[in-house]
Amino acid sequence: MKNDKNLSLKELLSNKYLINGEVSPVAVTVDKIRRCQSLRLVYGETYDHYGMTLDSLKYYFFTALLAKVLNQEGIHTTATVIIGDLHSVKNKIVENKDDLLQQANNRLSFINKINSIYSLGIKPVLMSNMFAEDEFQKRLEIITPFFNNSQKLKSLAQKTVLKNRLTQEEKIGFQYTLEEVALIADFDIKIGPPRETYYDQITNIVCRELYQKDFYGVYLKPTYPLGFQFDYFVNHPEIEAFGLTPYKAGSNKLQDNRILIETTTAKECKKMIDSSFVAKNLILPNPVLDIYLISQMAGHFLTGDSLDIDEKITENPESLKEAAYQKLIENIYKPLNLNL
């Protein structure tokens, strides 16, 4: 990636290391975006008791970077990070719901800290606050009957939930999905993991039909667990295909194989990085390359470091591991005063 001074929207959205090319429709609609005068970007995340993942930072940095590039292209752009407090406790199996809801404010403060240290210019907001707004309630009232009358939207909604939760969601009229759609329909571009494509397809139809505007989804490459050899991915094809939920540390009960930035020590990071599978082939999972990219984006926001990828480093697994760890410490652990 080039330094953002020269980085074009097209270059950013077709970046082979960051963007999941198979599902992102944006690269082909850059011209359309360029015709907009203003844009609102959104990235939304839920969370669990394990705390914030390093992978969440990837989304904060990328959202900020995209906003920066759009602003440089003359499109007035704002970036919002929604902290999905209410949706984090929606699932029946979630324990200590009150405690988890309380954590939303800590998370908000922490994102503000990140925002301030890296000068990201993103605006974190709580979902509970947005739900309380009249505008949101109005959108939900308009979207709900439209959704209920559309078989196409319902079948897309079915794809947003796990099979074992489908009956339950159908009973309550896909409430979670509808709230999600009503929330993000207020924005123009949503950044998220590839798994969220079905929400965005629904939102796209809703925006076109009800609000006569376009809605785009930008998908980053899947998030993979650390500390596993290649056989783990071969034997877990679902994780290989879609990755873990980036912002949920306990996704697939793999919290011990993630960097949880408030708790994982530098030593533990090193151990996980050193025992991870690294491939040159970009079609294969590469969680270490992800750390390198996240830390590089962090360095870019901190000191204006170039976003160029040194292919000599990515070509050699050991160099990549070393570089990823060094950048993680220098650009994330030290500036955020984390557990060294």
């Binding site: 050899q229 290649f230 056989d231 071969v234 599978f277 491939a279 040159k280 294969l284």
Partner: protein, 389 residues
């Protein structure tokens, strides 16, 4: 007159291109038809994990699999796993067999323990030899020394000749109970079981060979990998069914492409058709004669070949290099230059004759150096399923 030749050569070229596509499509279609998994994803992972890929994998000679996934864990952890691959001793070994042994050797280097049943009983039942005694002679005097000459590790290789390891027949009685006659007929056809021996062999003995390493004597149930040609896939399905019924682990398979016949790249090299095969016992002159007569992917008019190029995908001569030459860069270079018409049929044959004659001579030399086969023979009694209190 010349233009007539050129016209014919162009048609010949088109026909060869079609044949090349037919060969490629055959394997691709088989993956779909038999609901197998393409090996390319595993290949990509192995390429990233291992310092160097064996040509068997890098050139897609192994092209499909069924349940190979657990073996990636063994490879990643450098822990042992198990392979069974039988051999019918009805003719001397040829280059088609070498493709199989190259795989076995490669998997052995990655940690596999190899079981090789020499199925002289099958040779006899199928009428490929006149007597069990003859098939034993071939097994001990030809086949086993030749296998050992490939360089297998005696500590990790267990070879047995069926006639001399009758314990397997006891185990076969055990496995036979789980297979109905109707099931066997539906898989192999009535012709393949037209006498009672064949019926017992196909429905039980072969299964016993595949499932043998999972017996208590060999450490109990374990993932077992069987490298097979596509025509042997039904055997694997049958063995998987029976394994489940016996509370054993269903065997997995990797499926490899056939070494093509010298006379027809769409057919496989066959030991019973000498003109289609190069035997590991052939001398240099015979090899040269066979390769000179082989079907190629080049048209008969040099001018047209230089203009349109060759068709390595439909070339029995190039296939010899592709399946056996160890140097990936060399083979890729030959492929590209031949395809562009920069290498003539004559040159390709010269290169191939030289290379094949060398590797066959080398094998023969190593074969001469094999003085004893004892260290490789499996003699352990198996009776865990017979003992009683």
């Amino acid at each position: 007159m010349k233009s007539e030749y050129i016209k014919l050569a162009k048609k010949e070229y088109r026909d060869k291109v079609k044949l090349g596509a037919k060969i490629s499509n055959y394997y691709r279609d088989k993956i779909k038809e038999l609901q197998l998994k393409d090996f390319s994803k595993i290949k990509a992972y192995l390429e990233a994990f291992l310092p160097k890929l064996n040509p068997i994998i890098s050139r897609d000679i192994i092209f499909a699999h069924l349940d190979f996934e657990p073996f990636t864990t063994s490879i990643a952890n450098k822990s042992p796993f198990c392979i069974v691959s039988g051999l019918n001793p009805s003719s001397p070994l040829h280059l088609g067999h070498k493709v199989l042994f190259d795989q076995l050797l490669y998997f052995q280097s990655l940690g596999a323990d190899i079981y090789i049943p020499i199925t002289n009983d099958e040779s006899y039942l199928d009428g490929k030899v006149k007597s069990l005694a003859e098939s034993r002679k071939i097994a001990y005097e030809e086949i086993i020394p030749s296998i050992i000459a490939f360089g297998f590790d005696p500590k990790k290789t267990k070879i047995y000749v069926m006639s001399d390891y009758p314990d397997v027949y006891n185990f076969a009685v055990n496995t036979s109970k789980y297979v109905t006659q109707q099931y066997v007929s539906s898989i192999f056809g009535d012709k393949a079981i037209d006498n009672s021996g064949k019926a017992f062999y196909r429905s039980a003995v072969q299964l016993a060979q595949i499932l043998l390493p999972q017996l208590e004597e060999f450490g109990g149930p374990k993932p077992t990998l069987i490298p097979v040609g596509i025509d042997q896939h039904p055997y694997i399905l049958l063995s998987r069914d029976v394994a489940k019924k016996m509370d054993l682990i269903p065997p997995s398979e990797v499926i490899f492409k056939f070494q093509s016949s010298l006379l027809d790249p769409f057919e496989k090299m066959s030991g019973s058709k000498p003109n289609t095969a190069i035997y590991l016992s052939d001398d240099a002159k015979t090899i040269e004669k066979k390769i000179q007569r082989a079907y190629t992917g080049s048209v008969s008019v040099l001018e047209v070949h230089q203009k349109l190029g060759g068709v390595p995908e439909a070339c029995s001569v190039f296939s010899l290099l592709n399946f056996h030459h160890p140097d990936n860069e060399f083979v890729t270079d030959i492929f590209n230059r031949y395809k562009k018409g920069q290498i003539s049929m004559k040159e390709l044959k010269e290169i191939t004759v030289k290379f094949i004659a060398e590797i066959v001579a080398d094998h023969q030399k190593k074969r001469q150096q094999v003085k004893s086969i004892d260290g490789f023979l499996l003699k352990k009694p198996i009776n865990s399923f017979l003992s009683y209190k």
